[in-house]
Amino acid sequence: MIINPIARREIKTRFRTGRSAVTVSVWLLMVGAAGYLIFLLARSLASDRFRFSGGSSVLASTYMGSLMFELLAMLLLGAVLVVVPTVAALAIVGERERLTLELLQVSQLSARQVVLGKLGSSLAYLLLLVVAVAPVLTLPLLIGGVTLADILVAFAMIALTAVMVGSVSIWVSSAVKTSRGAVAASLLFVGIITFGTLLALGAELFAFQDDNGQFFPRTGREVVSIWANPFFGMVSAVEEPLSIRTNADTPFGLASELLLRRQAGDMSLVGIVTEEFVGGPVAEPGFNELGQANNAGVPLRRGPVWVRTLAIYTFVTLLALWRATRRIAVPLRRV
């Protein structure tokens, strides 16, 4: 298999150091501990929530599995948003500081190969961290409430986010003069797409509320600010089309309520699992037999958010890689 020589060298030198072994071990311990804490939390919440359910352990474990999956997915997304920019931001500026960039530029490697090699090595580190925690992430599958497709879709969106953030960080790295500046700028970008878009969401909802203080009219309304948000993108990919698995008081449930309103507007058409509906395994109108909202009947007024997220991230990725390539390509133009 032909591997980009830059990626191969960096992977080899990075993973042979003691620091990598320590990092992976600490990461495993952290995820293991976090997984256990999430398990305890989910079990406690499920127990509280379903104490009147007449011993419906299926319902409780479904809720518990969903909650665990969602929290672990968020943990992994958070790790991506911190680790990838921190590693990728050093890619080009690090070569400059080590005085090795010129040596690569005068080689037979094209600027594109240099950039892709750097992206590959940055993502390889993340891949190791993900593979290391795979057993923990499959735990919700055993408990229930989550399908393999849910997990794979969430992983795909996390991977897309990683590629996009990594590409932007490499672009930043090619443009900024110091390592510290490159890491700071990359983390600032991550801050903008996560917290910045949430602030924009608040402003958007506030600005477009109707006279009665309702954020959404009955016909629903597009919410532009969440398109670029990695969390909403992931939730949308798992939840849309809005069919099942909608629990109001889980992280994904809160986000998917917004997605429901964006799609439907008329909340009387859709059901959110609340205490009054969880009394037994009998399916209520709008819910399946597990008490989960069955929103299959919700008319899709617009395409799902994840499609927009995918389009935006793909565009930003290609733009960032093109700009990074242009920045390190020499000579820059013909005479």
């Binding site: 020589p5 830059i6 060298r9 080899k12 030198t13 042979r16 150091t17 080590r98 005085l99 090795t100 960039l101 010129e102 040596l103 690569l104 530029q105 005068v106 080689s107 037979q108 490697l109 020499v330 000579p331 820059l332 133009r333 013909r334 005479v335």
Partner: protein, 310 residues
């Protein structure tokens, strides 16, 4: 000519780093670029290495324009900058292996190439040593090996002796001489002129973004030393007679004496020198010593660069 630069210009803002550089590097030569810091040596090297875009003029390296066919140019040249780029955690062998890969050396040949280069630069015993712990001299030799991984015809070495101790300099000089014997063309810059003396077959004196003089060392000497310094030794009691005789000749000037030694400037060639000596002998003045002193590179350099002072 393996390198031709004609009227090359490069500006950084208002500073003219290259102000119409004309440089011809013959195939198989060791061309020394000498000049003070900021003269335009590195700029010229970066342009010919395809690492810097020129603003004007024409350049061909091995028949290709670096700005247009950079891939072909990079295939033909090995570039060694005036710093050693370090990758942490690589051994000398892995370091060269990596650069052989990125220079497109076929995978089955890499091991042979790397081992022979380590042998050539005398670092075979350091093959498994981390590059970070090598001495500066060893790093320079490894760096030279790196620039040779793809067997280029042309080597561009920017201040390779900078910061080296005398022994490391000697080793590097020996290595460059060896490369010259291997029919490599070497362009080497330095502001330490003694580094170039003995290894450079050709010189280009660069100052203020221009090549002030270039050619083989003998050609430059001949062009610049229209006046040679001559040292003659005669018996003490014959000094005055010898001086009178010399002063009577129109090609002689600046005559000075010191304990039987006469020094003067000769404004002529070897024939004039021989005729002067013959006239002293005809006047029955014993001549114990008669030597034309050639200008050293240092002197040539100062002469050329001073000439450009305004």
């Amino acid at each position: 000519m393996i390198v031709q630069m004609i009227g090359v210009e490069k500006r950084y803002g208002t500073t003219r780093a290259a102000d119409g550089i004309n440089l011809m590097v013959p195939q198989g030569s060791v061309m020394g670029l000498i000049g003070p810091n900021g003269a335009g040596k590195t700029t010229s090297m970066l342009i010919m290495s395809s690492l810097l875009q020129r603003d004007g003029g024409q350049v061909t390296v091995a028949g290709y324009d670096p700005a247009v066919d950079s891939g072909e140019v990079r295939r033909s040249l090995g570039y060694m900058p005036d710093f050693f780029g370090v990758y942490e955690g690589l051994t000398s062998y892995e370091y060269l292996e990596f650069f052989a890969t990125v220079h497109g050396v076929r995978s089955h040949a890499i091991s042979t190439v790397v081992r022979s280069l380590l042998e050539l630069v005398g670092l075979a015993h350091k093959a498994t040593t981390d590059v970070n712990v090598l001495s500066r001299g060893m790093k320079q030799r490894l760096s030279l090996a790196r620039s040779l991984v793809h067997d280029p015809d042309l080597l561009i070495l920017d201040e390779p002796a900078s910061g080296l101790d005398p022994r490391a300099r000697f080793e590097l000089r020996t290595l460059i001489t060896e490369l010259s014997r291997m029919n490599k063309t070497v362009v080497i810059s330095s502001h330490i002129l003694s580094e170039l003396e003995g290894i450079a077959t050709h010189l280009a004196v660069v100052d203020r973004g221009r090549v002030m003089a270039q050619g083989s060392i003998d050609e430059i000497r001949a062009a610049l030393t229209g006046v040679s310094a001559v040292r003659a030794r005669v018996p003490d009691d014959q000094v005055d007679a010898a001086v009178d005789l010399l002063r009577a000749n129109p090609v002689v000037s600046d005559v000075a004496t010191e304990r039987g030694v006469i020094r003067f400037s000769l404004g002529g060639d070897e024939h004039d020198s021989a005729q002067l000596l013959a006239s002293l002998v005809r006047a029955e003045i014993p001549v114990f010593e008669w030597r034309t002193e050639s200008a050293g590179l240092e002197e040539l350099f100062l002469k050329i660069t001073d000439g450009g002072e305004e």
